[in-house]
């Protein structure tokens, strides 16, 4: 099978004009602009097969949105090539965007003051979706995302979770083969997150839509992506199965315990004490050596505690560890 997206050696450097301080500085700036080069991508290459779902992750400023912008045709790279769905995104922009869907978690593409339904019918005109296709897409999206109750509500009155469900539907009305999701679960409550994830999974498994997902939420990645691409400082650090990321970064997890009495510090052979503040204790452990359940059982036998929580390391932590710069 030939690749759906083939990205080779993309580079992009932004020129940032700096403002000097004070009135005098502003005046100087009018005559001579001070600029600074900020490299965003330094040679990014990867390829995607049809039907894949890839997590594209990295810390803020790593080059994630720059990549997404280039891949969706909004931005032209300084050098490098990209072939997606038979197009060069920034060159055949209009033909290309007809075949892709893009969701930005931070901002809506719906018309703020209009009922959701109106936005949908405008999109239908913009993308020239024929009657039959539109009706069947609407039917499917409505039932998967539980939209019935929302369609007549003006967008500004929707909650964030409801809005995201509508935004997802809006990006899929024209049945794109390729979907970019930029932080689709940001700021959502737990229930909405689950609905959104379930929906994305269905879309990928049943409709075969290829998905590129950027996120800061490790749970999103775990729930959805079998493959991750980690980018940091404009370069791809790792590209492979999720397992590879885990093992590359170590598997350590955290156990947060709230003790009954302050001052008591539980000790266990398989766990390392990370911090201790009053009655809040943080232990680090390796779940491959001792399962969380076993560790908790051992601690519960010896100590009285009020509450406890097992934490996954955050994406930032995992990546920083991958980099070997995580401050312990």
């Amino acid at each position: 099978m030939s690749a759906l997206i083939e990205v080779e050696n993309l580079t992009k450097t932004y020129t940032i004009s700096e403002r000097r301080e004070g009135t005098w500085g502003a005046l100087q700036g009018l005559i001579q602009r001070q600029t600074r080069k900020a490299p965003a991508l330094r040679g990014v290459s990867f390829s995607l097969q049809p039907g894949e779902m890839v997590g594209y992750i990295g810390p803020n400023g790593a080059g994630k949105s720059t990549t997404i912008k280039i891949l969706s045709g909004i931005l032209v790279p300084d050098s490098g090539t990209c072939q997606a769905l038979g197009c060069t995104p920034w060159r055949d922009r209009r033909r290309y965007v007809q075949q892709i869907g893009v969701v930005f978690g931070q901002r809506t593409q719906l018309w703020w003051d209009l009922p959701v339904r109106e936005s949908f019918s405008l999109l239908r005109e913009i993308y020239q979706i024929d009657d039959h296709a539109f009706r069947s897409a609407m039917q499917e999206l409505q039932s998967l995302l539980q939209l019935e109750a929302l369609l007549n509500t003006p967008v500004r009155q929707l909650s964030l979770g409801q809005r995201m469900r509508c935004d997802l539907a809006a990006s899929l009305l024209h049945s794109p083969k390729l979907l970019f999701l930029d932080e689709p679960t940001i700021g959502l409550d737990a229930v909405s997150k689950l609905v959104v994830r379930e929906f994305i999974r269905t879309l990928n498994r049943q409709r075969g839509v290829t998905v590129i997902l950027t996120t800061h939420d490790m749970d999103d990645i775990e729930a959805l992506c079998s493959r991750v691409i980690v980018i940091a400082e404009g370069k791809i650090l790792l590209d492979g199965p999720l397992q590879q990321l885990r093992s590359a970064a170590g598997t350590e997890r955290r156990l947060l315990i709230e003790m009954e009495k302050p001052g008591e510090t539980p000790a266990d052979e398989e766990a390392r004490l990370v911090s201790c503040e009053g009655n809040r204790i943080c232990l680090a452990f390796d779940p491959e050596r001792t399962p969380a359940a076993a560790l908790i059982a051992r601690i519960a036998k010896k100590y009285a505690f009020r509450d406890l929580l097992v934490q996954e390391p955050s994406i930032e932590e995992v990546i920083a560890r991958l980099y070997g710069t995580y401050p312990e």
């Binding site: 992009k12 932004y14 020129t15 720059t66 912008k69 969706s72 045709g73 909004i74 931005l75 032209v76 920034w90 922009r93 209009r94 033909r95 965007v97 007809q98 892709i100 893009v102 930005f104 901002r107 593409q109 018309w111 703020w112 003051d113 209009l114 109106e118 019918s121 405008l122 005109e125 913009i126 993308y127 020239q128 003006p154």
Partner: protein, 263 residues
């Protein structure tokens, strides 16, 4: 894009734009009333001046009113229709221009359609009233009425072009520089009166840089018989259309700059 599809899209966009603005009905009526009063007062001042001084460089009140009316109507329509370009810096800053680039329609078309501002209705009504009064006073009828119409459409294209250029600047500056208002609001204020009253340099700017004279003074003189009535003078409002076409080309350069720098 076929013409039929284009017109259909314009109709749908316009309907939606009206509908979303009419969500705030009271605000709409108050603003219309407000602009009607404000611009009405403005013309009352012009009236007062003329009744005191009689004429201005040989221009009597009804003749000046013809210029005033044409320019007011043109600007009101252009400003209402070019609202998306007028507020373009907002779209750049909020990132909604990226969304426009993600849709399979020309960006300028989407921005043009994004908002038809009803609030400008007051200025439109006032301009129309002044224009109607001028035509009546000047006994214009039959084919003579075609010229003001031709001036108005040329004026709409011209002002629209200025708004497009203003938006194009945003690709380079992010904020809309205040100086652009010299050409939009300043242009209206200037061209509502016979341009011949201004000093040479100002007249040159509004003749050659932004061809306001060709949608007001030149064709008006041709119509009123106070200046050259050559074919060129009569065709002068076409310069407004040429200006708009040129603006749209410059706009494309702006988009290319945006997509290569990412602002």
């Amino acid at each position: 894009m076929t013409l039929r599809k284009t017109l259909r899209l314009v109709r749908i966009y316009t309907t939606l734009s009206f509908r979303s603005q009419l969500q705030y009905k009271t605000s709409f009526f108050l603003l219309t009333l407000g602009t009607l009063l404000a611009t009405g007062l403005e013309f009352a001042a012009v009236y007062a001046l003329f009744s005191r001084f009689g004429s201005l460089h040989g221009w009597k009140l009804p003749q000046t009113a013809l210029l005033y009316g044409c320019i007011s109507v043109s600007f009101a329509i252009a400003e209402a229709a070019a609202r998306g370009f007028d507020t373009f810096s907002r779209q750049i800053k909020s990132g909604s221009f990226d969304r426009i680039l993600l849709r399979p329609l020309p960006p300028a078309f989407q921005i043009a359609c994004s908002e038809i501002q009803l609030m400008r209705f007051g200025r439109f009504l006032q301009g129309l009233a002044v224009l109607g009064w001028a035509e009546w006073k000047l006994h214009l009828s039959g084919t003579a009425l075609m010229m003001p119409l031709w001036m108005v459409t040329g004026g709409i294209a011209l002002f629209y072009g200025v708004f497009v250029l203003q938006a194009t600047l945003v690709f380079y500056t992010i904020e809309t520089p205040e100086i652009v208002n010299i050409f939009t609001y300043g242009g209206v204020e200037t061209a509502q009166y016979p341009l011949s009253i201004y000093p040479f340099w100002l007249r040159s700017i509004f003749t050659f840089l932004i061809p306001l004279a060709s949608v007001s003074l030149i064709p008006a003189r041709a119509l009123l018989g106070t200046g050259s009535a050559s074919l060129l003078s009569q065709a002068a409002p076409a310069a407004g259309y040429l200006f708009l076409i040129a603006s749209l080309h410059i706009w494309k350069i702006g988009i290319a700059h945006y997509t290569s720098t990412g602002s």
